[in-house]
């Protein structure tokens, strides 16, 4: 089963290596990972998507807590979290098909962020499902290049104390 872990760590050099190395040596695959500073500049939040059964997840959580730089590990409930990812699609766009691509972008509330002679670059944010649907549609035009940030997530406000 897929889990989204939200891991608060000290914002120090080498912490990403420690976390990534732990997943690798304990045999857990990371599906995606995104890191950035939090509201407190001394802390970073890592959002890690991992496929694991309950027992493996418990073990990886405990192992994460053993890292001195790890402060908090949350397994976010998919029904109680906000998650987003940002994707840049560079799509083949001959002049006669540009309108269609722009139309698709609009439907998905995506933005055209660069226009080339034969391509358009689309910036889209959303859940993994939405982005997968969009990718599917854009594939018909030929995706020249694609970059994604990996998922970031927070627990919903209703979960706050």
């Amino acid at each position: 089963m897929r889990h989204t872990l939200s891991v608060v760590v000290e914002n120090k050099p080498g912490v990403l290596t420690r976390v990534a190395s732990l997943f690798a040596r304990r045999g857990f695959n990371i599906d995606s990972l995104a890191v950035g500073e939090t509201e407190d500049p001394t802390l970073s939040r890592m959002t890690i998507v991992v496929s694991a059964d309950e027992r493996a997840l418990e073990q990886v959580t405990k192992q994460l807590y053993k890292l001195i730089n790890v402060l908090k590990v949350q397994d976010l409930d998919p029904r109680e979290m906000i998650d987003r990812e940002l994707v840049l699609f560079k799509v083949n766009a001959p002049a006669d098909r540009r309108a269609e691509i722009i139309e698709i972008a609009n439907v998905f509330r995506a933005k055209i962020v660069d226009v080339g002679r034969a391509s358009l670059t689309v910036e889209a944010t959303g859940t993994s499902e939405k982005l997968a649907a969009m990718e599917n549609l854009l594939r018909a035009y030929g995706i020249k290049e694609l970059a994604r940030t990996g998922k970031i997530a927070l627990a919903r406000g209703s979960r706050d104390a």
């Binding site: 760590v9 050099p13 190395s21 040596r25 073990q59 192992q63 807590y65 001195i68 730089n69």
Partner: protein, 582 residues
Amino acid sequence: MKSTGAQAIVKSLQAEGVEVVFGYPGGVVLPLFDALYDADGIRTILTRHEQGATHAADAYARVSGRVGVVAVTSGPGAANTVTGIANAYMDSVPLVVITGQVATHVLGTDAFQETDITGITIPITKHNYLVDDAADIPEIMAEAFHIASTGRPGPVLIDVPVDMFRAEIAYRFPERISLPGYKPTVKGHVKQIKEAASLVSKARKPLLYIGGGVLASNAAKELKELAELMQLPVVTTLMGKGAFPEDHHLYTGMPGMHGGKFTNYAITETDLLFAIGVRFDDRVTGKLATFATKAKVVHVDIDPAEIGKNRGVDVPIVGDARSVIAGVIERLRKMNAQPRTDAWMRVIDDWRARFPFHYHASETSIMPEYVVERVRELTKDRPTIYCTEVGQNQMWACQYLRIREPRTWASSGGLGTMGFGLPAAIGAQLARPDHLVIDIAGDGSIQMNSQELATAVINKLPVKVVILNNGYLGMVRQWQELFYDRRYSSSTLPQDCPDFVKLAEAYGALGLRATTPAELDDALLRAFEHDGPAVVDVRVEREENVFPMVAPGGSIDEMLGGIPGGPVSEMLDGELLEEVWE
């Protein structure tokens, strides 16, 4: 007060009460060795190899209960500590390893003797640091000692670029440290402790399964009290040896691959496995699916990640062994719980009598088991610390010695590091100058760090090395005999190369040899009475195997060799069993 970074490190060592630093100098660590040169109260032991320094510090820590300290240079010096650090990590031994590093401005340029030692040691340290501001040194030193010695102990490495050693800082020993991500749970959960006590009071066939965690938390006294209060049989793992006196009537041996048959039967039959400071290692459990299947499991450990890692648990208790055991005792006393293991102990005693460790004695040839027995008997009345190398020698030491006191045993458990024993004996001797220190060795293992004989001789550390010389990598040969059709690939070592007597003499140690059983006692006694280091080359029966043995991946009650006995289901005395069940 102004100091250099190197002086600050030495002041921190003094503030932590460090008396011995094991190490080896080299280019970038020279400022630190310069500061150690006339440091009050700190003795620096120069080993002959950085691996030796790390193992010596490791055993020093095991025997003294304090943090072992290592100082080495960058590059190869740091890399040579890796095996020693991995060894300490696997066996949860507190170390602080200080490595020199190339100067900050050339870091990352593949400078001379540069190696990314913090990167290399991430998986084998509890934590590590690369100093990038010399002003942080006092805090980092204090944190390192705190992390190494609290919770589940382990090695911490501090990598110090040479310019950080030289930089001038204002030294102040930090009064408190702030580690928001590190708060080990010491006190066990009260409800869980009650539950454990209740299970203990009801169990008919309980068994205490004791590991290194009990030694780490200095809980031997509490353990004995608990065992005696409820008359609970006690098994100790290789790492737990010394936590419970092995001449006690409740002592039920070492479990696992080369453990006692009676011990493995007891584990297979127990209805309450009370596990404290253990990690259900594969060498103990054999096939997990058939391990202690009749038992409820209480598991006490200060490391939450160990609980439920290999074996499901009925009552998990995260906490320090000493505090949790004391809590269980208190609860049992309140309940006025009475021991009810009389019949169970008779079952165990019956097994113990029927399935002791056993070998065929010989009048002409020295059996390795006999050597260990003689070492045991000849040291019975004097305070002795036993170290081992790794392999058959280690397993025979486990089977035939009687470890009676905490911290008198140092053996490489989790990592199984050949070459551990001699440097370990050196560290142990420094921790306990008044004890006889013996390294039970094999002819293969001893050669991995025999250069440390120089360290022993020069520092007047009278360690005794007893080599069970069978001219083989004995355990490898045993596996090849049993599982590889006797094809002794790369496992034969000529018994007389090197000549261990001459080797000892070359270093200025006493070298002795015994080739017949009649010569053995004399050689051992002369070595033990000698006032300096001694090596006894004992030419033992070459193809003796360590038995009994659980085949790799097998069930622990189905053992090869030893006194014949089937699985536990066939080994139960009907009448006794009825009493246990009544």
